[in-house]
């Protein structure tokens, strides 16, 4: 798996994401976080992994890990159709702007998230948002659960096939089921 930015013209950042070589590492980091947050973009219904939509993997992961989900674009409706209620839904820029605000107290008003995860936004859009957070909230930890390497995140999975991606998400879910949140 490669740690080159997925889109070739995406300039490698001076400060690059640490690669997540195994899904267990991502699970450990999520478990270590006290206020993790998962932001899910519109590709959640566009990406099919081994016959199943990305959103279904995310619901499994969210249910197992109990990590609150923020749905962007019109994804909330897709979650509700699948009988999963996200903790919040808002525009991707809106949630990103809140994340860089140190005064923001999270979607539940109880504290700023200490780990923000992204999955399923258009690649370039997610890259730009991660860049915004990296520059303007340098202490904020970010992680991507996509199969495309994002240099602006704190941690990112390397570029991977759809099969590897599906496997990573399944393993993550199973680790939470086994060990609890």
């Amino acid at each position: 798996m490669s740690c080159e930015p997925w889109q070739c013209a995406e300039i490698a950042a001076t400060k690059k994401a640490n690669p997540i070589q195994k899904p267990e590492i991502a699970v450990a980091m999520i478990k270590k976080a006290s206020r993790p947050l998962l932001i899910v973009g519109s590709n959640a219904t566009q990406r099919w992994l081994e016959g199943k939509q990305l959103i279904d993997y995310i619901i499994d992961l969210a249910n197992a890990s109990k990590v609150p989900v923020v749905a962007t674009a019109h994804m909330v409706g897709e979650f509700i159709k699948r009988e999963y209620q996200p903790a919040a839904f808002m525009n991707a820029m809106d949630i990103a702007q809140r994340i860089v605000d140190p005064q923001w107290q999270g979607i539940d008003g109880k504290g700023h998230p200490d780990l923000v995860m992204f999955v399923g936004l258009p690649y370039y859009m997610e890259a730009l948002i991660l860049s915004g957070i990296k520059h303007f909230a340098p202490d904020q930890k970010t992680m991507t659960l996509d199969n495309l390497y994002h240099p602006h995140a704190s941690w990112s999975f390397p570029n991977a096939t759809l099969e590897e991606w599906a496997s990573n998400l399944r393993v993550m879910t199973s680790k939470f089921v086994e060990g609890g949140q």
Binding site: W6, Y124, L128
Partner: protein, 782 residues
């Protein structure tokens, strides 16, 4: 308006007070006009004149930066790493650097439109004289140049007056750009304010260009019934010699059309256009045809339809000469801004140039005389067409499959594609004999050609996509309304009240390019949705083409289905890029004609009026250019929100309100001076949306304004709620922020919303006479 340089010289003069000898007095300009409207506070604003107004907006809608690059490489101190708060050698941090990039983009955009206007105005003055009167709509349009009046305080009456206006614009753009030099501006909000200024100037430059060409070239004049134009390659008679004009500046095309008509060749050849030149050609000559938006130029050139390609300026592919050469089409560069390396043949005999082009001795020429462009283009097309007919520009389907077999599946094509399209997968399928996926890419591809540049096997991916989509390409035959130009004063009088009171739920301006996968269909769907909901839908530029590129269940395009007037449920195309100024102009005219606010040099007051009362929102679904940035900046400074589609995030800076911070939403009640929380209306000034569904919901929400009457607010909320429920499957979570009194609640939703309000602890609030300007308060608090 007349103005002149005044120079007085007195050799010797005796007065009661003494003797004056050798007195010389120079006055730069002496303005003599008969416009009785009093001059407002900010005529011809400098780069900091409207800074206070800009800061009001920028504090309400804070910039959210998403740097595309961690570095600055603009001077030889650098590259400087600005990551996470580091400052560069010049002292700038990443916030200031990001806003500097915004300023540079907006300055480039404003310079481009203004230089376009300069060329058009100078050419038309040379042809028609400085005293040629401006006429953009006869007696129906007395406010002929609302943006110019507002910004400069000048009421232009002749072509010569526009020259004066442009001189002002050119000065301001120079100042804006100079502020981006190393060691000038250092604060991000000040960079942003200057970007807003560039946007204001851009609107003036665009207006000047369009009213000059409308007045002299007899374009449709504020005409809701502007002709319906055939659009798409399917509408072109490909047996005839074809000239394809690409760009934005109509002047060379006028030369072509005039020569063709004078030579009685109008029935024997086709003049087609791409992008805004296409529109302006049709405004001049309604038998000209539009083949499509700018983003598809590679597709159209590759497909080999054009015998002669004439490029003028802006958004032209800079490798167009190489692409045209591949299909043996002759190229004429007709603008000194895009010479493309061709030899300047302006002073050579036309027939000699034609011979050189037809024989292939030269692939292209530069001709800076529009009349000679016309003669050479027409003669060349007639002679070269029979030769080119034997040419197979695209590979055959069998060749496509063979070429696809050379793909190594390295995936660099997809990784280079700005839209991350699954090209390798489509090539693999084609290699196995199934071209369906390549054909599907035809609708998604935005025609940049980056896949080919990346391919180590040198596969002409785009050509393969075009070949597989050829059936769709050849069947494109739709109708687009030609650009109507300005909105008439009469139309403004009819709808001004209903708009300001909120009874017409909003004005949606769909502008710029739609070069996004399925972008054309998205634009069509969005326009149709809001026209059906009785919003006023205004289109321009390539989005206007996209809006006309699809048909309803009865086979009608949008322009046939909906009226072309500025009215509830109207879908009107104002015209080319420079016609975007008429959209801002319409907003300004509502304040002037309906609300009787003075325009003259009165920017803040009019912008404050528009921001708080006019439910207008811009949508640039697939915008890509610096011009789009400056057009948007012109709307931001008027307080009009702009949405961009997903790849608009690459503009790298949003202007976002925070609905969760009530203190951001206070306005002054002009009746009393009391501060009133008017809610997040509009919530943002510049925002990226991810999907067309999200765009529709946001558009409905962004049309809400503090000034809405209860009836207007109830109507707007019903659209917002309806779209939200349809696309998000649930009630909007922020509905309580938009209900001021119970009368605001849509009548069919009283119970549902009443329960939400109760749960949120909602309290009734005042409907203010809203303003952000303390000086507009009529009675201060005692």
């Amino acid at each position: 308006m007349t103005s002149k340089n005044v120079h007085v010289k007195i050799g010797e003069m005796k007065t009661n007070n003494g003797l004056i000898k050798n007195l010389e007095l120079s006055i730069g300009k002496l303005v003599d006009d008969n416009w009785t409207e009093p001059m407002g506070p900010t005529p011809m604003p400098h780069i900091s004149t409207l800074r206070d107004w800009d800061m009001k907006l920028l504090n309400k809608y804070k910039p959210f930066y998403m740097p595309d690059c961690d570095l600055c490489c603009l001077c030889t101190y650098g590259k400087c790493d600005l990551t996470a708060g580091k400052r560069g050698a010049c002292g700038l941090d990443i916030g200031a650097q990001s806003s500097r990039i915004v300023l540079i983009a907006c300055s480039i955009g404003a310079a481009t439109h203004t230089a376009h206007a300069r060329h058009v105005v100078d050419h038309l003055i040379e042809k028609y004289g400085r005293k040629f009167p401006l006429d953009v709509g006869g007696l129906n349009v007395k406010v002929e140049a609302p943006v110019t009046r507002l910004v400069t305080g000048i009421k232009p009456e002749t072509l010569g007056d526009l020259d004066e206006v442009l001189t002002y614009c050119e000065t301001q753009i120079t100042h804006c750009l100079s502020a981006a030099h190393t060691g000038q501006e250092g604060n991000n909000l000040d960079f942003e304010s200057k970007a807003f200024h560039a946007g204001r100037i851009d609107q003036v430059g665009m207006e000047v260009a369009d009213i000059a060409q409308i007045s002299t070239l007899n374009f449709p004049k504020a005409d809701p019934e502007a002709p319906l134009i055939r659009m798409g390659i399917g509408s072109v008679d490909r047996t005839k010699p074809t000239i394809m004009c690409i760009g934005h500046n109509v002047v060379p095309s006028v030369g072509i059309i005039d020569y063709m008509r004078d030579s009685n060749l109008a029935d024997k050849m086709e003049v087609v256009g791409l992008c805004c030149t296409a529109f302006d050609n049709t405004r001049y000559y309604d038998r000209a045809k539009i083949v499509g938006p700018i983003s598809w130029q590679l597709k159209f050139v590759r497909a080999g339809f054009a015998d002669v390609v004439v490029i003028d300026e802006q958004c032209v592919r800079t490798d167009i000469f190489a692409e045209a050469e591949k299909v043996k089409a002759a190229v004429i560069a007709a603008s000194e801004k895009s010479c493309m390396g061709f030899k300047n043949r302006t002073n050579d005999p036309a027939d000699q140039i034609v011979d050189d082009l037809v024989s292939g001795r030269v692939p292209g020429v530069l001709i800076l005389d529009p009349e000679k462009v016309g003669e050479v283009a027409v003669k060349t097309a007639v002679k070269i067409a029979p030769i080119r007919k034997k040419l197979n520009a695209l590979p055959t389907l069998e060749q496509v499959k063979e070429i696809a077999k050379t793909c190594r599946q390295c995936n660099l094509c997809q990784r280079s594609c700005p839209q991350d399209l699954s090209i390798s997968r489509a090539l693999k399928a084609a290699a196995e004999g199934d071209i369906t996926l390549l054909a599907n890419l035809y609708e998604e591809c935005i025609g940049c050609g980056r896949c080919e540049e990346a391919c180590p096997q040198k596969i002409m991916v785009h050509s393969l996509i075009v070949k597989c989509g050829e059936k769709a390409l050849l069947s494109e035959d739709n109708l687009c309304r030609s650009g109507r130009g300005a909105i008439s004063d009469v139309e403004i009088r009819s709808v001004g009240g209903p708009i300001v009171l909120g009874e017409i739920p909003g004005i949606l301006a769909v502008v710029g390019c739609a070069n996004y996968p399925h972008g054309g269909k998205d634009v069509y769907d969005i326009c149709r949705e809001f026209a059906s909901r009785r919003y006023i839908v205004v289109t321009s530029g390539c989005s206007a083409m996209s809006a006309g590129s699809y048909r309803n269940e009865e086979g009608k395009t949008l322009y046939e289905e909906f009226p072309g007037g500025f009215e509830a449920g109207g879908v009107l195309n104002v015209g080319s890029c420079v016609a975007n100024s008429h959209i801002a102009g319409a907003a300004i005219k509502v304040a002037n004609i309906f609300a009787k606010r003075n325009l003259r040099g009165n920017y803040e007051e009019i912008a404050d009026y528009i921001h708080n009362r006019l439910g207008a929102v811009g949508l640039a679904w697939g915008a890509y250019s610096q011009k789009a940035a400056s057009i948007a900046a012109g709307f931001w400074s008027l307080g009009v929100p702009v949405l961009v589609g997903p790849h608009g995030s690459k503009y790298r800076r949003m202007l976002l309100g925070r609905s969760d911070k009530p203190e951001n939403w206070e306005v002054l009640d002009a009746r009393t001076g009391e501060k009133v929380n008017a809610g997040p209306a509009p919530e943002h000034l510049f925002q990226t949306v991810e999907t067309p569904q999200e765009a529709m919901v946001q558009i409905a929400k962004l049309c809400i304004r503090p000034n809405d009457t209860w009836k207007g607010r109830a109507g707007k909320l019903s659209h917002y709620i309806d779209l939200h429920k349809r696309h998000y499957g649930t009630m909007p979570p922020d509905i309580h922020m938009f209900v001021r009194t119970e009368a605001d609640i849509p009548i069919t939703m009283k119970d549902e919303i009443g329960a939400i309000l109760k749960a949120k602890g909602w309290k009734e609030s005042l409907i203010p006479d809203p303003t952000l300007l303390p000086r507009m308060v009529r009675k201060t608090k005692e």
